[in-house]
């Protein structure tokens, strides 16, 4: 996961509304296919919701790292 070149980082820590997944969905619309997006989230639900949504729409889930007080979730736009 650390070897991948991240195209865009979305810092959604402290974002109660609209929240990390909404920010990610918005970013997915504007980034080109193949982009690797890292989302930083302090919302514990995102660590579960983001991989679930990525799986539903057919993008690629790379992984999640728990850091001090937040999660780093990395995904790849596949289509």
């Amino acid at each position: 996961m650390l070897d991948l070149k991240v195209s865009k980082t979305v810092d959604a820590r402290g974002a109660f509304c609209p929240g990390p997944l909404m920010e990610l969905i918005g970013s997915m619309k504007t980034e080109p296919v193949g982009s690797v997006i890292e989302i930083l989230s302090s919302d514990h639900g995102s660590a579960k919701d983001i991989p679930e949504w990525i799986g539903k729409v057919g993008h690629e889930y790379i992984g999640t790292e728990q850091k001090e007080g937040y999660w780093s979730i990395v995904v790849k736009k596949a289509k």
Partner: protein, 379 residues
Amino acid sequence: MGKRILILGGGTGGTIVANLLARGLRTEMRRGDVTVNMLSASDKHVYQPAFLYVAFGRMQDDEFIRDQKSLLDPLINFYVDPAVKINTDKQSVLAKSGKEYPYDYLVIATGSRIVPEEIPGLKEGAHWFYDLEGAKKLRTALKAFQGGRIVMAVGIPHKCPVAPLEMTFMLDDLFSQNGLKNKYEIYYTYPIGRVHAMEPVAHWAVKAFEQRGIKYETFFNMKKIDPVKKQIHSEEGSIVDYDLLIAVPPHKGQPVIEDSNLGTSGWIPTNKKNLKMDGQENVFVVGDTTNIPISKAGSTAHFEADTVAESLICQIKEGCPGRDYDGKVFCFVETGLEKGTYVWFNYNTPPNPGEPSQMIHWFKLAYNRLYWLSARGIL
């Protein structure tokens, strides 16, 4: 030559900044040491939260539209001449008239717009209440509705994140009271894995949905609408039938932002604390135009405007750096036609909606009339 402050946008954020500057820098402005110019696309100021009420026939144009000049302190120079190109290197803005407006400090508060054309079929197949024309068309459709399935669907990104819930609860009250009981079904869809972005609001709303018999589907992002078959196809692969579709169209910033290469989709990369555009010490961004991951809402614009105005006043008067924005947002939430609640939160405090009450609903109705004091920088 005095300091020139240029404000782009005559909405909530720009108007509050301008009026607070006129109050805080009155002496300097009278002496000619500071000039405040505002450029806007319209000579009217529209209180956009009214659109929700327009759809239900509960507010009329003259209650929520005023002449912009009537809201501005007389010391502010107001021009109906929207910006078409922002040049931060030259510290100048080119307006539609061809005139250049140089600045020492720039405040960008150009807001957002709906882009229903981004989802195929949405313009043809859906109603919305995120602009005045759409709200009035929806008002006609709701009046003519004789029963069937109403779908509330939400696009990303969008402003006023509580509005889809408000619309849903108000619709349920309307149709359960006007003789259509047992003749309609409300189906609510939401892009993420719960029914609202804010977790405590989602917990509360799900209980209310269950009590009212409102059905819902999560992880639902509109991909295309088939207006002939009256079906919504989601990115996640499901298909939902509708008789009346009310959608929140996706939003973008104004074209001038992308045309000036300041930010993708019209959102400007902005420091979440000092509200300065990234890499620019003398450019502030207020309201929907920022890319800060918080609610795009009038309330956000209001509190950001307070911060930016105080920072500018402090900087110009004393050379001090000003204060930081703490992420404060306050939103009323209508929970039907007769009750309401509210949420407030900031970067460190999560929202916690209280028990809905008639009093908070009345307070919201009162605020719809008090808003003009906010725009003037008084409330």
